[in-house]
């Protein structure tokens, strides 16, 4: 397992390439080297899977051992002296040879391969071999496009047989759909008889594949990776807060990868989160402010909204996918403008199978804990939400404010609710989707989607994480926090001076005593565990976290 989870706090001192390094007992040589910035290349090793030791890429010279050792399977020992390819010709020769071996039967189809540009075989070849192949014979031919299930396609020729996908299905999902068929150079990853790779995390095997052997069926031959913008963000699907890397091209999500974070999602991601990432992008976009269905100047819309919110009882439906900063502004807004308003978090639970529960949270509420952090109070969200929804549907609700598209849960975005909203002439909605029931509101303000906003999230385990903006919003769309700030201004209240999302986060972190001393740079890499965080303390990261391989 990873160095961070070393069972013992006992430290061991060893030297790698002559540099002294102290790491917890039980750490392997790869992780120990990584902690001082020395790269040891590997394919089959993964910090959260069992050690297979089959790729032979991570060989190192350990003083006193006659043969080269594989770093993944060599735990550190006191006084151990390790030489890597950077200092030992024997090691660099062995690694170059391993690459040559891997490549002799590997097709040179980089020109059409989806992995090109983010392929470890390409990278390592340039870094550790970079010689022309001496192989003159005919390559072995294997299956080129074999569907393993509804989501994943196999190209057997590109496979380096690291068996990470097999081990993932054996050890993590425990569904064991995959295996290795045949022997020698005829070996090929195959689906076990009568099975299909259709577990709820099937797409993860593509992330784990260090080469282009496994590809997403829905994203194959979509784009070259260098034409996309890749952003490290957080999945807004549920309150697990999986770390992801999202590739976007022309406003379209073209690939979603899991990002390694040992404390959250390891390097796994559910198919719903991955393949459903684009569900947050509306097909028909609210692009301008409207009043009673007609396009209106922003000042008119805000004025009308002020009138609606100012009079009578008010119910505020809040999306659970907003940022902590938005909730903090909402709190100030409610306190300053409408302290009797009923603030309801749109929260619904769902039932999950035992397998789904290894990662997925039983909600659609990415920032449930963030809401509770900013707006302490009743935690019986589902009951309050369904009661408020009932009131809305029956027409007895008076003024209503919708904050974000998920202010109505996915399953509540129904025709009944749309009709109730149409009949109610005292509704304000900050949403992005024109087909949303709340688009029938009296005032509609164009708002960002969860993918278009940077900011803080707190996951169900109370981990504070920073989500980057995956794509830019249309020019008129603003975050709910900004709309609230503008509305508050009309009530004579100044909530925030921030211009950008980043300013807002900085402003918020500077003003929140419970997060004293935190900066975005400290939160971004792995998040901050709020259960152990003491305000004012600067969290120290002793070990560098493994970077994503695939």
């Amino acid at each position: 397992m990873s160095a961070q989870n070393g069972n013992s706090q006992e430290l061991v001192t060893l030297s790698i390439d002559g540099k002294e390094v102290r790491v917890p007992k039980g750490t392997n040589v790869i992780e120990a080297a990584r902690s001082i910035g020395v790269e040891i290349p590997y394919y089959c090793y993964h910090p959260h899977l069992s050690v297979a030791g089959n790729c032979r890429m991570c060989q190192v010279k350990v003083e006193g051992q006659p043969k080269l050792q594989i770093g993944c399977n060599t735990p550190v020992a006191e006084g151990m002296k390790v030489l890597t390819s950077h200092t030992s010709a024997e090691v660099s020769d062995a690694q170059a040879a391993t690459l040559e071996f891997i490549l002799i039967n590997h097709p040179l189809d980089c020109t059409v391969c989806d992995q090109a540009g983010h392929c470890k075989l390409q990278d390592y070849h340039y870094e550790y071999n970079a010689r022309p192949s001496r192989f003159l014979e005919e390559k072995v031919h294997k299956v080129k496009a074999e569907p393993l299930g509804p989501t994943v396609m196999l190209d057997g020729e590109r496979c380096v047989l690291c068996t990470r996908c097999v081990r993932f299905c054996d050890e993590v999902t425990k569904t064991s759909e995959l295996g290795v068929l045949n022997r020698g150079d005829r070996s090929v990853i195959a689906i076990n008889e009568g099975r299909e790779l259709n577990n709820p995390f099937s797409g993860t095997v593509v992330d784990l594949c260090p080469v282009g052997a496994l590809t997403h069926r829905q994203w194959r031959f979509n784009t070259r990776i260098w034409f996309t913008q890749e952003t490290e963000s957080i999945c807004p699907g549920c309150s697990t807060g999986c770390n992801v890397k999202v590739a976007v091209r022309d406003g379209e999500v073209v690939q979603v990868k899991a990002r390694l974070n040992s404390d959250v999602n390891k390097e796994w991601l559910c198919d719903e989160g991955r393949y459903g990432f684009g569900r947050f992008i509306p097909k028909e976009r609210v692009l301008t402010a409207t009043v009673e269905g007609r396009e209106a100047p922003l000042s008119d819309a805000l004025l009308r909204a002020k009138q609606i919110l100012g009079e009578g009882p008010l119910t505020i439906f809040v999306s659970p996918a907003l940022r902590v900063e938005d909730y903090a502004i909402l709190k100030k807004f409610v306190d300053g403008v409408k302290s009797e308003a009923e603030v309801v978090l749109a929260y619904r639970e769902r039932s999950l199978s035992a397998l789904e529960q290894i990662l997925i949270a039983p909600d659609y509420a990415a920032n449930l804990r963030g809401f509770e952090f900013a707006l302490p109070g009743s935690r019986d969200h589902q009951a309050r939400y369904t009661a408020a929804l009932q009131k809305l549907a029956s027409g007895s609700a008076q003024s209503v404010l919708f904050l974000g598209d998920l202010a109505l849960s996915w399953q509540d975005q129904s025709l009944d609710i749309a009709q109730a909203i149409t009949k109610n002439h005292r509704t304000v909605a900050m949403i992005s989707d024109h087909a949303h029931p709340a688009a029938r509101s009296t005032v509609v303000l164009p708002t960002t989607t969860p993918l278009e906003q940077a900011g803080l999230l707190i996951n169900r385990a109370q981990r504070l994480q920073y989500a980057e903006k995956v794509m830019a919003p249309p020019s008129a769309a603003q975050t709910t926090g900004k709309w609230l700030t503008q509305l508050a201004q009309r009530f004579g209240l100044k909530l925030s001076a921030a211009v950008s999302d980043r300013d807002l986060s900085i402003e918020y972190l500077g003003s929140e005593p419970r997060l004293l001393g935190l900066r975005i740079a400290a939160i971004k890499p792995k998040g901050i565990d709020l259960t152990s965080f003491k305000p004012g303390e600067v969290p120290s990261h002793t070990l560098v976290e493994a970077t994503s391989l695939a």
Binding site: Q59, A94, F101, L136, G179, D185, R186
Partner: protein
């Protein structure tokens, strides 16, 4: 002809030796009765004293191997008799299993008693249909007489013995791949370290894996004492060894000789010399996994571990699969045969062996076809150097050592064929066809 004490083969010529009655009429199952009254540690001590080394190929001291079994473990201890005998040129265990199965079983009883194993298994080569029947029959006879099962021979020791047939994979002779196979998985060697079979073997429990010949030798050692066994042979290679002789000799077969016997004398006297009066070209004394010895080296060698390894670091007494080639043999064809074998039998788990084995095979095949190129010999040498020592199990050495020895010791054979090709004198050679179809 040398006078060799017959420890293992002394009764194989008796036609009823495979029956329990025949075996017992020649003193069978008397040693285990004696051993059952000894201290288990004393048994191990005798074996250590005997200097017996594993006969499967690696030559590791047997008694020492047993001492690795943790004392006072709460897990069951298993004993596995490695009768996979998949090494090319090796058929010595077959004789024992077929002609004297009770000797093997009695040896297993001794070992099981010494290491405290309650369950034992014979993993027998899948192709050994007849020996399988013989051993199965022998096990049944033992159960019928309560020699196996609960309280064997009326003692308080119990031992259950099963026989399991392999499915024909060479790699399942490697002890950890054998254990994987026994557990019902694909036969692939395990990573060592962290756990060796003696600590976590079969079903994660301490396991002793010994070769059939090793186990069979225990009967004589416990009957006559470890010191008596150590008197035979040389100081470091004690006792007798079975050699399964094949190839271009007049009298191929299985011979039991005392260690330290001159190889040339063995070849000339026991094996009857090279067939048709030809000259010796080379000998592979320990199966296909080690280097070939040239005629000059054979003249200097004696049949023991130290002498052979001393002549060539990559040569070894190995399993005693003694293959002889005469001077009419083209080493290119021999090398091709071996390369095919190793390419076919690689389990495919780790990169150097999976890819390197096939690469070597394809190059040698090209040379054999008369399409060799300048630089091919150096290329084979280079590939072999990068396979050995870089794999999970010893298969990497097994495929590269012999190939390297062929090209280094008999470069003329290879160069001749390559020169033909380079000079345009390709003769449309058709090498022996070992081409296998892809398995799917």
């Amino acid at each position: 002809m040398g006078q060799h004490r017959q420890i293992l083969l002394k009764n194989v010529h008796c036609t009823d030796q495979h029956t329990i009655a025949g075996y017992e009429s020649r003193g069978g199952y008397s040693v285990i009765r004696k051993v059952l009254n000894m201290e288990p540690a004393k048994v191990t001590e005798e074996v250590i004293k005997s200097g017996l080394r594993g006969r499967g190929g690696a030559g590791f001291p047997t008694g020492k191997k047993w001492t690795f079994i943790p004392k006072g473990t709460d897990k069951p201890v298993y004993l596995v008799n490695n009768a996979d005998e998949s090494e090319p040129g090796t058929f010595k265990d077959r004789v024992l299993l077929e002609r004297d199965p009770h000797l093997c079983i009695e040896g297993m009883m001794i070992c099981a008693f010494a290491v405290g194993a309650r369950f034992a298994c014979i993993y027998i080569r899948g192709e050994y249909a007849y020996p399988y029947q013989r051993v199965r029959q022998a096990i049944r006879e033992c159960y019928a007489k309560d020699y196996l099962g609960k309280n064997i021979f009326g003692s308080n020791v119990s031992l259950d013995l099963v026989i399991h047939r392999g499915a024909g994979a060479y790699i399942c002779g490697e002890e950890t791949a054998l254990l994987e196979s026994l557990e019902g998985k694909k036969g692939q060697p395990r990573l060592k370290p962290p756990f060796f079979p003696a600590i976590r073997g079969l079903y994660d429990s301490p396991t002793v894996v010994n070769n059939t010949e090793t186990l069979a030798a225990l009967v004589w050692i416990l009957e006559n004492g470890g010191e008596a066994y150590a008197q035979i042979g040389t100081a470091k290679s004690t006792g007798t060894k079975l050699f399964s002789v094949s190839g271009h000799v007049n009298k191929p077969g299985v011979y039991e000789v005392e260690m330290g016997y001159p190889m040339m004398q063995f070849l000339e006297e026991e094996c009857g010399g090279i067939r048709e009066g030809r000259k010796l070209k080379g000998v592979m004394p320990g199966g296909s996994s080690f280097a070939i010895l040239t005629a000059e080296e054979v003249a200097k060698a004696t049949l023991d571990y130290e002498s052979i390894s001393g002549l060539d670091r990559t040569a070894h007494l190995g399993s005693g699969g003694f293959m002889v080639v005469d001077d009419h043999t083209d080493i290119v064809e021999v090398a091709l045969n071996f390369a095919h074998f190793y390419a076919h039998e690689s389990c495919g788990q780790c990169t150097p062996c999976r890819e390197g084995g096939h690469w070597v095979q394809k190059i040698i095949q090209r040379i054999a076809r008369g399409e060799g190129l300048a630089g091919d010999i150096e290329l084979i040498d280079s590939i072999c150097s990068q396979v050995q020592g870089h794999t999970i199990c010893a298969f990497g050495e097994a495929l590269s050592w012999p190939a390297q020895a062929f090209i280094r010791k008999f470069p003329a054979d290879f160069k001749a064929r390559i020169r033909e090709a380079m000079e345009g004198r390709v003769q449309h050679r058709v090498p022996l066809n070992y081409e296998f179809q892809a398995a799917h």
